[in-house]
């Protein structure tokens, strides 16, 4: 609701104009049955002139009616224009604001919301919200006008018609409330059923080899059939509930018409009203009841829109956690040093420490390799440097300054990380490499690609550097994707380069060539490398062995081989006969 008012205030004038024109349009609609009554009563039946029909009056009123109708159309169009300006304007603003906010979320916040839910919020929920605004401006005004205006017009024709209205009204109200009350939870369920069904399809298409390899086609068919059955049943229930709405409405409406005719016949017999008036009354009562029917639809949009507004509000109310903090910490003038001081870290969702009291200092230009078993905290440790997450205890210093004291943008200019999952964007290879337009020239790009061992295969692509990378890089192989990502990292520059297991898909020769090129062309960078293979790390200045979130040994390959049992074990696992080295 808060959201609604904030945006409606900014677009208040447009919204008012839209509502105003809507009122005018409905007013015209309400005027017409009255004019029709005049045509029938005065023109055709000539009631006031003693039964002599007045053709001239029919024509004149008819022309007036046409003018009024044209005016109505104009008002309607103007109302549509202003409503859309308001609705789409609000939708656009909130969409942009939400996206901006999401882009500045910390990773924990993104993980909490889940990517899927964020996508739905920015797309689907914004659309729902937008529709709700437009419905409120147009639909609600229209309904209320029809309802109030129609009732007033009907009663002004003859008060006795009010009896029929007062009977029909509660019946329809109960019907609407009943249907809305029953269908709303069904809609949520319907969406869930649909999600489940699509989820199964997605999984099984992507995992068809596993399904077939385990010969589980029957199981999957049964699983799908169950989801399909649930979806169809829910859909049926929704349709049934909705189909209750219209026929009941129709019955009430038609009974009301019969009632009007009955009451009207008594009145006409007593000479209180003319037959034309009865006809006008029939039109009015259907307008009133139709207005109520529309109200039912509006309630549905409204309840869905409010739910969406709530979800959007949640996004907007989440403050960005990663912010520059005012702590007295200054750079020491070095370029590329990283220091961990008694760092502990736990992910917020389970509170279990992943890193325990890590102290490590890395000098500018040094190459440090991290090695350790799956889940030992290597990735987590390096993610603390560009401040993807904040430490639970201790501090992380870059060039002597606490990372929390940096402007995050400046920090990430210094620190370049190449992630385990090489996420490339749609666009050409060139666009992926040169992330900021105009910041790097062709030569620099080729130099980085060559060092990443990517230049050769990029040139072999149909359009070289201008070859489009398909959605999330699916047209390149895993190894090629990794090399493009490394080239991108090299091109970005900075002082500290982190390779987070980003060469796992490269064959040994390529990987060796890559490390050699790094050593030659990018020697000034502080390099922090996570890898599984001893061969990838043995040339590092220092190797740090992690075990269950603790540093258990560090030193050169030879030193560790001499004194670290864990490292010896790792080497043995990769070679079988460690002493052979």
């Amino acid at each position: 609701m808060k959201l609604l008012f904030r945006y409606l205030r900014r677009y208040g004038i447009w919204a008012l104009l839209a509502s105003g024109f809507m009122v005018a349009e409905v007013f015209v609609d309400l005027l017409q049955p009255r004019m029709m009554a005049t045509i029938v009563n005065e023109g055709v039946l000539g009631l006031s002139s003693g039964g002599v029909p007045d053709m001239e009056l029919v024509i004149r009123t008819g022309i007036w009616m046409l003018v009024v109708v044209m005016g109505g159309a104009l008002f309607g169009i103007l109302s549509a224009v202003f409503t859309n300006i308001t609705g789409h304007g609000c939708g656009n603003e909130i969409r942009k604001q939400c996206f901006r906010r999401i882009m500045h979320f910390s990773f924990e916040q993104t993980d909490d919301f889940t990517v899927g839910s964020l996508i739905t919020r920015v797309t689907n929920d914004v659309t729902q919200f937008q529709q709700m605004i437009m419905q409120l401006i147009r639909g609600l005004v229209r309904c209320l006008m029809f309802f109030v205006g129609g009732t007033a017009a009907l009663l002004s024709l003859d008060l006795s018609f009010g009896v029929i209205l007062s009977v029909a009204f509660p019946v329809i109200l109960i019907d609407i409330i009943f249907v809305v009350w029953r269908t709303n939870p069904l809609f949520t369920m319907l969406q869930k059923c649909l999600d489940r069904l699509n989820g199964i399809i997605q999984e099984d298409v992507a995992g068809i080899r596993v399904v077939k390899a385990f010969a589980q086609e029957k199981t999957e068919k049964a699983r799908f059939e169950k989801a399909n059955r649930e979806l169809v049943d829910t859909q049926f229930n929704v349709q049934m509930m909705l189909s209750f709405l219209r026929p009941v409405m129709n019955i009430v409406l038609n009974l009301a018409v019969v009632g009007i005719l009955y009451v009207g016949s008594i009145q006409v017999r007593e000479g209180d009203i003319a037959p034309g008036t009865v006809m006008a009354a029939i039109t009015y009562i259907s307008q009133v009841l139709n207005g109520m029917m529309m109200l039912a639809m509006i309630f549905q949009t409204l309840s869905r829109g409010l739910a969406s507004a709530g979800r959007l509000q949640e996004v907007l109310d989440t403050p960005s956690e990663i912010r520059q903090e005012e702590i007295g910490s200054k750079e020491d003038g070095s370029h590329g040093s990283v220091t961990f001081e008694h760092v502990s870290f736990a992910y917020a969702d389970n509170g279990v420490d992943v890193l325990h009291d890590i102290s490590l200092s890395i000098h500018p230009g040094e190459t440090v390799a991290l090695i350790g078993s799956t889940g030992c905290g290597k990735s987590t440790l390096v993610h603390l440097i560009p401040r993807f997450y904040d430490v639970t205890a201790g501090r992380v210093l870059v060039d002597g300054k606490d990372v929390r004291a940096y402007d995050p943008v400046l920090l990430r200019e210094k620190v370049t990380i190449c992630l385990q999952k090489s996420e490339l964007f749609s666009g050409t290879i060139r666009e992926n490499l040169i992330t900021k337009e105009g910041s790097r020239n062709e030569q620099e790009m080729i130099r980085a690609a060559a060092a990443a061992q990517a230049d050769e295969f990029i040139r072999q692509q149909p359009e070289g550097y201008d070859t489009p990378v398909a959605m999330r890089g699916m047209s390149l192989s895993g190894g090629q994707r990794q090399r493009v990502a490394i080239a991108r990292a090299l091109l970005k520059g900075g002082e500290i380069l982190i390779l987070d297991d980003s060469t796992s898909a490269l064959d040994l020769r390529t990987e060796a060539a890559l490390y050699q090129a790094l050593k030659k062309d990018y020697a000034h960078l502080t390099r922090i490398v996570i890898a599984q293979r001893v061969a990838s790390v043995r040339t590092a200045d220092r190797i740090v062995v992690l075990e269950e979130g603790r540093i258990v040994a560090q030193g050169s390959h030879e030193e560790l081989l001499a004194c670290s049992p864990v490292y010896q074990d790792i080497c043995r696992s990769q070679q079988g006969e460690g002493e052979k080295l």
């Binding site: 882009m103 995992g207 189909s243 019969v258 016949s265 037959p275 992630l419």
Partner: protein, 580 residues
């Protein structure tokens, strides 16, 4: 608008889906007919009453009102039934259509699925099926009743007054022409809006999914700018398209009112001349509305039906794809696990051979490793062994029997496989581990989890074996996911175990432990291992070095090292060649 290629055939085929539901079709037809008859008769009665009012013959009115009441009740009940039957009917048809489609996809050969983009398959199964279903459920009865109402209304109008009918028809056709013109304009605007909406969704999906990269490269502002530009474009197009859409209402309103004025004015004129009664005017007011509604609905439906038929065509195309040939001896039991490739040739694309004259015999209980650079055909060997793809020439035998003569289910039951892609299903860890056979006991499951080293992973999860894994991975690292898939394969107790880069993200020590476990588990069973990490394969009984679909060297680790060939080269880069 999308046009179906063979509209008539597709429509006929779609209609065939209604054949088994004849009962509901007939019931629906009955309800619709009665509803239309009642709906068409009622205004006639109303006009009688008005006439009586004008004439002052009040005695007949209660009688007429009674009949009217009855007619309206019939109308109401029938529309209710109509809603019920059409919902039932459409849901039954859609259920079958969707089921057939899914069953088909699951039974398609892997080669066909690889040939389609996953997005395309998904879109056929969801969007197209949804489109067809919504058109079936929404348009079916309205089309039916629309046509009947049209016929009924025209008849009634003609009976009442021929000149008035002609006049009404003029306005109706005016509104139809307007609707068609407007929808054409609108369609263009909607297509543009849809494209932009797709672009927005694409940006959000890509950038939010890759938010780590966006942040790591300080690309937030650029990304936001791109998003805002598209968002602003969408706003402009959206306003334009929706204004067009919203204008329809007032314009139709105008035409309706125009027809009202025409009916009133000419009705009055005709009444003045004594050719008609006032009651007929009131009936015509109702009829002209009743007439224009189905006409407009049908005009609008035309586009939807075309789109749905185009969707149906894509669905049928998929249904017409040939299913996988799973035939073979259903009773065959793989007992030893001897695999033999004899002169096997294979290519994915004709003219580009991937496997050439491949010969290899794997004795039961041996551990074989395939090594070679990317593109040397290692994974293809697995595809052929599993009958995911058929060989072009030559043959593959298991226990001496050509695999084409073994039923797929028997063959695949005997082969446990762990693939490069760690596919896990959205379900509990327990279900995922027991995927091969849910009746496996929990003790066996935990034992396998221990052997595959995923027990530690599971213990770290909130609800252990009852934790629901989400498709995206629910916080599991790639290595941890690999451990789970290995556990799953262990639990299927295969005669032949195939690991295709199954431990690439697992650290080498854990891998070593798993391998030790495998030695126990795979005693007297055959294992085939593909890896580029030499530590993974060093202990194999036989190492096969592949290059461009050929075998270039075979032997065990020591023999191959001694030969100083390709394997030696690979080995050296890993352990010494990197020393610079």
């Amino acid at each position: 608008m999308e046009k179906p290629k063979e509209g008539r055939q597709s429509a006929a085929r779609l209609f065939a889906y209604f054949r088994p539901e004849m009962r509901y079709v007939l019931l629906l037809a009955g309800a619709v007919t009665l509803a239309v008859v009642a709906g068409v008769t009622a205004p006639r009665l109303q006009s009688q009453v008005i006439d009586d009012l004008v004439r002052g013959s009040f005695e007949e009115i209660p009688g007429y009102l009674g009949i009217m009441l009855l007619t309206y009740l019939v109308y109401g009940v029938m529309t209710l039934l109509q809603g019920f039957f059409s919902a039932r009917l459409s849901q039954r048809v859609v259920f079958r259509l969707r089921k057939e489609l899914f069953d088909k996809v699951v039974s398609l050969p892997v080669s066909t699925i690889d040939g389609h983009s996953h997005g395309d398959l998904m879109s056929r199964m969801t969007n197209d099926a949804e489109n067809v279903s919504s058109v079936i459920s929404s348009s079916l009865s309205s089309m039916f009743s629309g046509i009947l109402t049209l016929l009924g209304t025209v008849t009634m109008m003609l009976v009442l007054s021929v000149p008035m009918s002609l006049l009404t028809l003029v306005t109706v056709f005016l509104s139809v022409a307007l609707t068609r013109g407007m929808t054409r304009l609108m369609r263009k605007a909607y297509v543009r809006r849809q494209t932009l909406l797709g672009a927005i969704n694409g940006i959000v999906e890509e950038k939010v999914t890759a938010s780590r990269t966006v942040t790591a490269y300080n690309l937030q502002e650029e990304t936001i700018a791109l998003f805002e530009k598209t968002s602003d474009d969408l706003r402009r197009t959206g306003i334009f398209a929706d204004i067009l859409g919203n204008i329809m209402g007032p314009l139709m309103n105008t035409i309706n009112n125009l027809s009202f004025v025409i009916v009133a004015a000419f009705g009055a004129l005709l009444t003045l001349r004594g050719q008609m009664t006032v009651g007929v005017i009131s009936a015509f007011i109702v009829y002209s509305k009743q007439f224009s509604r189905p006409v407009n609905e049908l005009a609008q439906m035309y586009g939807q039906i075309q789109t749905a038929l185009a969707g149906a065509e894509r669905i049928f195309e998929l249904l017409d794809d040939e299913s996988e040939d799973q035939s073979g001896n259903e009773a065959f039991e793989v007992t030893r696990g001897v695999i033999e490739f004899e002169h096997v040739n294979f290519s994915y694309v004709p003219g580009k051979p991937v496997i050439q004259d491949f010969n290899l015999r794997v004795e039961a209980g041996r551990k074989i490793a395939l090594v070679g650079s990317t593109g040397s055909g290692k994974t293809t060997i697995v595809n052929l062994l599993m009958r995911f793809y058929p060989v072009d020439s030559g043959r593959i035998t298991v226990d001496g029997v050509d695999i084409r003569e073994i039923a797929c289910s028997r063959l695949r039951d005997a082969v446990g496989i762990v693939l490069q892609d760690t596919v896990l299903f959205t379900d509990t860890v327990r279900h995922n581990l027991k995927y091969a056979d849910p009746s496996i006991s929990d003790e066996d499951m935990m034992e396998a989890a221990k052997l595959s080293y995923c027990d530690k992973v599971v213990e770290g999860l909130a609800k252990e074996y009852d934790t629901i894994l989400s498709g995206a991975g629910s916080g599991l690292s790639q290595g941890q996911r690999q451990l789970l898939t290995i556990g799953r394969a262990f639990l299927s107790y295969p005669r032949i175990l195939v690991l295709d880069e199954a431990t690439s993200s697992v650290d080498t020590r854990t891998e070593q432990h798993i391998q030790n476990a495998m030695v126990q588990l795979m005693k007297e069973r055959t294992s085939l291992i593909i890896a580029h990490r030499l530590s993974t394969i060093r202990d194999a009984d036989l190492i096969v070095v592949m290059d461009h679909g050929h075998i270039c060297e075979t032997g065990n680790h020591e023999q191959l090292l001694a030969r100083k060939g390709d394997y030696y080269q690979l080995y050296m880069t890993q352990f010494e060649g990197n020393a610079t």
